[in-house]
C-alpha cells in the first residue's frame, strides 16, 4: 500500500495504526527469514511507538501511523546502529539523527534497522556482518547495495517507506535492482547529523518508496537546513506534492551518449529506449547530450571516497564504543587488533586504499589530482544543465546479479556504479524509478538527474512517466 492509501483507510475509520503495524509485523515475521531485509527487528519496540502515537492526540503529521524502516547507519535512540559491522556491535546511539526527529514529529512508526553493506561499502548487500539480504524478485540474486535492506523491505511490501544513504549510488542502484523508487537528494538537502559518516563530501540520506509521490512526501518530511550539520543547505523546502501537479509537459531531458556504450545489458538499453519514447508522448523533449568526463567518475570516486572513509573510520578504535579486542597489550596494539578483528574485508580494503592515496609521497598524485578531476566532472553537468532540465541514464548497466557473482573481484563490483557515481561527485539530486523488466522478470531502473535543489523537477517528470507506464503496480510474488 502507498502512504495515501493507508491514510485513506485511517481517515475512513476502517483501520488504525495498530492494525496496520500488526499486519506489517506479521508479514515481516513470516517473510523476512527468506529475504533478510532487517538487521534488527523488535516487535515490542514497534508496538510501544504505536501506543505513544495513539495516545499523543493532536494534529496528525504527514507520516502519521506510517511504517518506515531505517538503514543501520542512522542513529535511532532505543535501537542499535551498527553499520552492519562487528566493530559497532552493541552500539546504542546516545541521540537521534535529525531525520529521525523529523520522522517522529511527522508521526512515522519506525519498524527497525535495515541491513546494508558494512559501512555502506558495497553494491550488493553481501558485505554485512549479519549475512546477505536477498532480492525479493529472485532470492538467488542480490538486492543491490549498499542500502539493500531498505530497498528489499520496500519491494517486499514490509514497509511502504524506508530511509537509505547514498555515497556513490547506494540508494539508486538497489532501488533499480528491487523495482522501487529511490532518491538521492542534492548534497546538503537533508541533514547528515546522526548518519554514521562514510565519505562526508558525498553522503546523503534519502527515501525509498514504491511510488514517486511517496518519495516526494518522505523527502519533504526529512529535508531542510539543520544547524547541527554545517554542510546542510539553507534553502527553503518546497511542497513537492504540489510541484508534482505541474506535470511533465515541456520538460527537457538530456540523454548522455557516453551512457550507451559497451557494457550495457541489451535488455536494459531496450527498456530505457522505450521509456524515453513514452516520455516524448508526455510532452517531454528528449535530446542527446555529452558528459565526456564520465570515464573518470569511478577512478575519481575510489580515490576521494576511500580517502574520506579511511579518515572517518579512524574513530573506530575500541575506546569509546563498539567492539574492543581483549588481546592488545599497549594502546597501539589494542587499536590495531580491535580494527583487524572488527572490520570486514571490504572495509579493510577501502581503509588501506584510502590510507595509500593520502599517504606522504602519493597525496598529490592521487588525492589532490582526483579533486581536480572532480571539478571537471561537475563542469560537465553544469554545461549540460544550461540546455536541459534533467539528465536520464540507466541506473545500473545490468539488472540484479547473482549472490557471490562479484564478491571475489572488487573492481568488477565497483564498475556496477558507473552511472550513479558522478552524481555524488557533482552533489546533484538523482532518482531511480522502475522502467521495465527483463524477460526473466528482473526489474530495470532508470535514473533521472537534476540541478542542485531541483528535486521537484525530477519528481514531476518521474511521476508523469510512472503513471503512464504503470510499472509501480507490479510486486514480486512472495509467499
Amino acid at each position: 500500500m502507498t502512504v495515501s492509501e493507508i491514510h485513506a483507510l485511517y481517515q475512513s475509520g476502517k483501520t488504525s495504526p495498530s492494525e496496520i503495524i500488526e499486519q506489517a509485523i506479521r508479514r515481516i515475521e513470516s517473510l523476512d527469514p527468506k529475504i533478510h531485509a532487517f538487521a534488527w527487528f523488535d516487535p515490542q519496540w514497534v508496538r510501544q511507538q504505536v501506543k505513544v502515537l495513539e495516545a499523543r492526540g493532536g494534529g496528525r503529521g504527514p507520516l502519521w501511523g506510517i511504517p518506515v524502516v531505517v538503514k543501520d547507519n542512522i542513529c535511532v535512540q532505543g535501537a542499535p546502529a551498527t553499520c552492519a559491522s562487528k566493530i559497532l556491535s552493541g552500539f546504542d546511539p546516545p541521540y537521534n539523527a535529525t531525520v529521525i526527529e523529523k520522522l517522529r514529529a511527522a508521526g512515522a512508526i519506525l519498524m527497525g534497522m535495515a541491513n546494508m553493506d558494512e559501512f555502506a561499502f558495497g553494491s550488493s548487500c553481501e558485505h554485512s556482518c549479519y549475512g546477505p539480504t536477498r532480492n525479493p524478485w529472485d532470492l538467488g540474486r542480490v538486492p543491490g547495495g549498499s542500502s539493500g535492506g531498505s530497498a528489499a523491505s520496500t519491494a517486499a511490501s514490509f514497509t511502504p517507506l524506508a530511509l537509505g544513504s547514498d555515497t556513490g549510488g547506494s540508494i539508486r542502484q538497489p532501488a533499480s535492482f528491487c523495482g522501487v523508487v529511490g532518491m538521492k537528494p542534492t548534497y546538503g538537502r537533508v541533514s547528515r547529523y546522526g548518519l554514521i559518516a562514510f565519505a562526508s563530501s558525498l553522503d546523503q540520506i534519502g527515501p525509498f518508496s514504491s511510488t514517486v509521490a511517496d518519495s516526494a512526501l518522505l523527502l519533504g518530511a526529512i529535508a531542510g537546513f539543520d544547524p547541527r550539520d554545517s554542510t546542510s543547505g539553507n534553502v527553503p523546502v518546497p511542497d513537492y506534492l504540489q510541484e508534482i501537479k505541474q506535470g511533465a509537459k515541456g520538460l527537457r531531458i538530456g540523454v548522455p551518449k557516453e551512457c550507451f556504450g559497451k557494457g550495457i545489458d541489451p535488455e536494459v538499453n531496450e527498456a530505457l529506449q522505450q521509456a524515453l519514447e513514452q516520455c516524448k508522448k508526455l510532452g517531454i523533449t528528449v535530446k542527446e547530450v555529452s558528459l565526456p568526463r564520465t570515464e573518470y567518475a569511478i577512478p575519481t570516486y575510489y580515490v576521494v571516497a576511500t580517502a574520506e572513509a579511511s579518515s572517518n573510520l579512524a574513530r573506530f578504535d575500541g575506546v569509546q564504543y563498539g567492539y574492543r579486542s581483549a588481546s592488545g597489550q599497549t594502546i597501539l596494539d589494542m587499536y590495531a587488533k580491535t580494527r583487524g578483528e572488527g572490520f570486514g574485508p571490504e572495509a579493510k580494503r577501502r581503509i588501506i586504499l584510502g590510507t595509500f592515496v593520502l599517504s606522504s609521497g602519493y597525496y598529490d598524485a592521487y588525492y589532490g589530482h582526483a579533486l581536480k578531476v572532480r571539478t571537471l566532472i561537475k563542469e560537465d553537468f553544469d554545461r549540460v544543465f544550461r540546455e536541459v532540465d534533467c539528465v536520464v541514464t540507466p541506473t545500473s548497466p545490468t539488472p540484479a546479479f547473482k549472490l557471490g557473482e562479484k564478491l571475489a573481484d572488487p573492481l568488477t563490483m565497483y564498475l556496477s556504479d558507473i552511472f550513479t557515481i558522478s552524481v555524488n561527485m557533482a552533489g546533484l539530486p538523482g532518482v531511480s524509478i522502475p522502467c521495465g523488466f527483463t524477460k526473466a522478470g528482473l526489474p530495470i531502473g532508470m535514473q533521472w538527474i537534476g540541478r542542485p535543489f531541483e528535486e521537484g523537477v525530477l519528481f514531476r517528470g518521474c511521476h508523469a512517466y510512472e503513471r503512464a507506464a504503470g510499472w509501480h503496480t507490479k510486486r514480486p510474488p512472495l509467499s
Binding site: R324, Y335, Y366
Partner: protein, 97 residues
Amino acid sequence: MAISLKDVEYLSHLARLELTPEELQRFAPQLEEILAYVEKLKTAPTEGVAATTHVLNLANVFREDKVQPSLPTEQVLANTSSREGLFFKVPKVIDSS
C-alpha cells in the same frame, strides 16, 4: 604501480589496522589492480583546474557562540567496554618497563 606485501604491511601500520598474512597476500594484487584502473585519471586535463573539496561552495559556517546542552557524561560513557569512574580506560600508552 607495483604493490608489494611490504607496502600493504606499511599501510596497515599507518591505518592502525592489523591484517592477517592471508589478507596481506590477497590485498596486494587487488590494490595493484585497483590502482592500475585509477591510473586513467592521469590522462585527465587538469592544468589550471581548481580542486573541488565541496560542491556547495560554502564558506566558513558560523553559529552564535552560545552554550547548548551537551550529552550527560553517563550517556557518553554508556557505550564503552572499559571505563574507570568518569574516564574511558585504555591499555598502557607509554611503556615504562
